[in-house]
């Protein structure tokens, strides 16, 4: 079975946190359709993203979203060969909605289903693109909830190389924006301001780059910005200049750690994933470094940087094709170590 990919498309469901995402992926034909019910607009009224509304929305949106995605792919449920869903990590209530729906659907259709690790989805998202990286590669996963460097030795075989000791990169963007009076979450707005800011007027430290290691710490950077802002004239121009200084410190730090991780692992490919991966300065600096130092850098398209169903459908399709599936029990894992996953091809397998 392991060398015989299932011939039918796999439905993927993502509902681990704030987004409801659904997609259909086929190992031969690629991504057939994907839909995201973005709840950001809804939650903006509440000053943030709202877990219970998110979960309630997963319930309310999931089945219509599945129907819409199948229609877009020109398929009916009977055409499906398997179902993949995010089984963790994430909010227990949110995960259960996706897991229950996926299990029930697979049960009724008598097809296999598999729980996917949310981070594996992110790591494999660049495989959705025409020019896909081959393992081994290093992945930088930077989002509101994560700042990780991961060594991808093979699909399913992951090593955590570095992690944040406190705030995630996206969280630092959002909170720094808030400290300077931008509405929360203001990370993207802060990045936009930074483009107008003057380089060099404010310089902040590059946390933890003056010592060896691949861990991050962004909490102190936030405090530095707060002090700079409080002691400033608080004009529009100054805000942009501080934003510029902050973004440069953040991007420099991420770049330095990526280069270190590549050197330490010997890999020649770098994958950037997560919402901060859409940051223009980060993309430009890494592309430049790649050209200068002779490695390749891969960015998923921005919609696959953030949470989505396509990455779950892809990861699930690969695992189902390798003969992996779980029993029919509904299990979710709010906390789940990426390094504990089963390799895609067990030792001694084909």
């Amino acid at each position: 079975m392991s060398d015989q990919p299932i011939a039918k498309p796999v439905l993927g469901i993502e509902s681990s946190c704030d987004e409801t995402g659904v997609a259909v992926y086929d190992l031969q034909r690629g991504l057939l359709a994907h839909r995201l019910y973005s709840q950001v607009r809804l939650h903006a009224d509440y000053g943030g993203v709202v877990p219970e509304l998110a979960s309630r929305d997963h319930v309310r949106k999931l089945l219509p979203l599945v129907r819409e995605t199948l229609t877009a792919a020109g398929l009916s449920v009977d055409d499906l060969g398997g179902v993949a869903y995010t089984a963790g990590p994430g909010l227990v209530g949110a995960l259960l909605v996706g897991a229950c729906a996926a299990r029930a659907l697979a049960w009724s259709l008598e097809i296999p289903a598999i729980g996917v690790h949310h981070m594996e989805g992110h790591l494999l998202a660049p495989l959705l693109e025409a020019e896909a990286p081959q393992p081994p590669f290093v992945a930088l996963l930077v989002s509101g909830g994560h700042s990780m460097l991961i060594g991808v030795d093979a699909i399913g075989s992951y090593r955590l190389l570095g992690d944040t000791l406190d705030d995630a990169a996206g969280e630092a963007f959002d909170k720094t924006a808030k400290l300077m009076g931008l509405p929360y979450p203001g990370g993207p707005e802060l990045a936009r301001l930074a483009e107008q800011g003057q380089s060099g007027r404010f310089r902040f430290s590059r946390p933890m780059t003056d010592r060896p290691g691949l861990d991050f710490s962004f909490s102190g950077l936030k405090t530095q910005v707060l002090l700079a802002w409080q002691n400033s004239d608080k004009t529009v121009a100054t805000r942009a200049d501080i934003a510029r200084g902050f973004e440069e410190a953040m991007v420099d730090t991420l770049r330095i750690k990526c280069l270190r991780a590549l050197e330490a692992s010997g890999a020649k490919s770098l994958v950037i994933a997560g919402g901060v991966g859409a940051n223009k300065r980060l993309r430009a600096q890494l592309a430049e470094a790649a050209q200068r130092q002779g490695f390749k850098v891969y960015f998923p398209r921005p919609e696959f940087c953030t949470d989505n169903g396509a990455m779950i459908a892809l990861a699930g399709a690969l695992r189902l094709a390798a003969g992996q599936l779980d029993d029919a029990q509904i299990r979710v894992f709010p906390r789940w170590d990426l390094q504990q996953l089963r390799p895609l091809q067990p030792a001694g397998g084909v």
Binding site: V50, D167, A168, G170, S219, R335
Partner: protein
């Protein structure tokens, strides 16, 4: 005893204060931690968790909403309710299941949880001061009162 105010001059003072609190928390309890963005809640929480014996990374729970740890028999749950808009959402966190005799629950932004939150033993309020931070401590249970009575003499010089 109503409340106690302390000035914490720097991060070392925060850590020292957390150290003094930690030994009282072996049986668990509920602590509400108030303060604006950047007031030092997370720094304080990190210092407290480290003083309790948590090893390794102590990540901000802002996005995950909850980060849990176990030290010996004590289950520690560090919550950040910043992204909660309606107290009814707490149901989805499975908060009821976190409560217990050997469970310590430290909650940042408790005002977002409103009346749905279990009553605290201790309320801590952090605020910016011209140099460092001001901390106000308010006990709300017999446990909290007893702790403060025993500890406050040690803190008068803080």
């Amino acid at each position: 005893m109503t409340e106690l105010s302390v000035h914490l001059a720097d991060e070392a003072a925060v850590a020292q204060w957390a150290q003094s609190l930690a030994p009282q928390l072996g049986q668990g309890g509920i602590i509400h931690l108030y303060g604006e963005l950047g007031a030092g809640k997370t720094t304080f929480a990190r210092a407290l968790l480290q003083a309790l014996g948590v090893q390794g990374r102590i990540k901000s729970p802002t996005y995950s909403l909850i980060e849990s740890y176990a030290v010996d028999a004590l289950a520690i749950h560090h919550l950040d309710l910043y992204r909660i808009a309606d107290p009814g959402e707490l149901e989805w966190l499975g908060l009821d299941e976190l409560l217990g005799d050997h469970s310590l629950i430290l909650i940042e932004w408790p005002e977002r949880g409103g009346s749905e939150l279990p009553a605290p033993d201790l309320i801590l309020q952090l605020a910016h001061a011209p140099a460092g931070r001001d901390l106000v401590v308010r006990p709300l249970s017999a446990w909290g009162e007893a702790w403060l009575a025993a500890t406050s003499p040690l803190l008068s010089t803080a």
